[in-house]
């Protein structure tokens, strides 16, 4: 029986995963895509497991994607959002975690506004923890689904040129993408106004394009990030119109490139700001493929994390050696 490389107890980020572990998630996600095409979109792999989706920040897309993945693996799921929960009454993350543990849960999917929250939780509870986005730190499953989408369309990640465009400063997606893509041999660049680039971004092994036209010339893939409007009061960009004029991914800009430039966007999109509608809905766009792949990638992660007791492994192998 061939075995996929173990991910360990938790998936906190891609920074510490090896190329082999990342490849295992992508390879496992491939057969999981087929499950979503079946009449009965369900396999019994996590039957009897309880998963808590603990969302301290609003998120519809990621939470629903995880919930679909969990249900398609037959897990029992509970959603906890901060509004109306004990967290709103001042309960700490550890208290919440301990209470959940007392209810005998098996896995926690956590989204939190503080960088490091997933790691903090993972170190304190025995359940598997999956990071669904922590502050500006990482959003590993988003990067994995981006990587799967690119690999599906280009057949490889090695030497593929991916430029991440937009609000890199506030983006956890950008960090996970940079770590994951570079580990699998892709070339990564960023393109943004200096105000939206973290200091020392080049130290992560990426090049910087100050102009979107140059980024389009260079790249095979543009991963366009949402301009986080809720954080824009700090004067990071002069106006949204100005941003669109200088950094917006428009049809005119991508059609100037004499090859098919693939467009990704993790959503939700600000149409007419970082991306124009005719690009988002056009033939270059892989945005809906990303959504489909998101469920398969999350199924793969949950499957790979849901390990059993190692001492039972030997007996099981002999018993079912068929």
């Amino acid at each position: 029986m061939l075995a996929a490389p173990a991910l360990g107890k938790d998936l906190v980020g891609l920074e510490r995963l090896s190329a082999e572990q990342i490849r295992a998630v992508l390879d496992t996600a491939e057969p999981f895509k087929e499950i979503s095409e079946r009449r009965i979109k369900k396999v019994p792999v996590l039957r009897g497991k309880t998963i808590v989706n603990l969302f301290f920040e609003p998120s519809t897309r990621t939470r629903i994607s995880f919930e679909f993945a969990e249900k398609r693996l037959s897990a029992d799921t509970v959603n906890i959002v901060t509004v109306g929960s004990s967290v709103a009454k001042g309960e700490t993350l550890v208290d919440t975690a301990r209470n959940l543990e007392a209810m005998r849960i098996d896995m926690v999917v956590i989204r939190h506004s503080a960088s490091g929250a997933a790691e903090f939780l993972a170190q304190r509870i025995p359940s598997n923890v999956v990071n669904a986005g922590d502050g500006r730190h990482e959003h590993p499953t988003q990067a994995l689904l981006d990587m799967l989408t690119i690999r599906d369309h280009l057949g490889r990640l090695e030497s593929v040129r991916v430029c991440i465009v937009g609000d890199i400063l506030h983006s956890r997606v950008a960090r996970s993408n940079i770590w994951g893509l570079t580990r699998l041999g892709a070339e990564v660049a960023v393109c943004a106004p200096r105000t939206l680039l973290p200091a020392g971004i080049e130290e992560l092994g990426v090049r910087v394009f100050p102009r979107i036209e140059a980024a389009c010339e260079w790249a095979d893939v543009l991963n366009v990030l949402r301009l986080q409007l809720e954080r824009m009061q700090g004067g990071y960009v002069p106006t949204l119109r100005e941003y669109n004029r200088v950094f917006g991914v428009t049809r005119e800009r991508i059609e100037r490139v004499p090859r098919r430039l693939l467009i990704l966007h993790p959503g939700p999109m600000n149409r007419g700001v970082e991306i124009d509608s005719d690009v988002a809905d056009g033939p270059h766009s892989l945005i809906l493929d990303q959504v489909t792949n998101g469920v398969a990638v999350r199924m793969a992660v949950l499957y790979l994390l849901a390990g059993g007791a190692p001492e039972k492994a030997e007996a099981a192998k002999h018993g079912a050696a068929e």
Binding site: P31, K312, G319, A321
Partner: protein, 186 residues
Amino acid sequence: MTEPQRHWLMDERAVERALARMARELIERNAGSAGLTFVGIHRRGVQLADRIAEEVARAEGRRPPVGSLDITLYRDDLMAIGPRPVVGETRLPTGGIDGRAVVIVDDVCYTGRTARAALDELADFGRPSRIYLCVLVDRGGRELPIHPDIVGRTVETGPDQRVEVMVPELDGCLAVALVPNQPEAA
């Protein structure tokens, strides 16, 4: 690591003869090949299903559709083992399995747990009119009340042995051997 001592049970000719006989037996039981759909269990069952379907085509003039089934996610020990097994491809023929006579093909039948998992998985895809279980080697040792309908060869084996079925696509030859279980590496 030293190569395990193989005791050859079937060579290429013997396997081919067995597969041809299995195809004839299947046609006889099913009163022809109408409505047959083959589903090979990943991995070696898929190649064997292809070969039996070829024999059916030779006898009946039409080749039944062949699909593949990966039962990993339906194993009853999945939560007890680690790390996770690699998940293979499940791809059923166009037209599905509703109302069809589905032939599950596997290389070896041992505990019966693989066949149980295959039956569970098939039930998620539709409702066949009937299901045949077709295996190249029945090595006994059943843990579930499951019995194959059509068998290429029956051999007596112990739990310290395993049956190795080799197919050209994966192993470079068509043969069956009995091999002592390797002690697990430390």
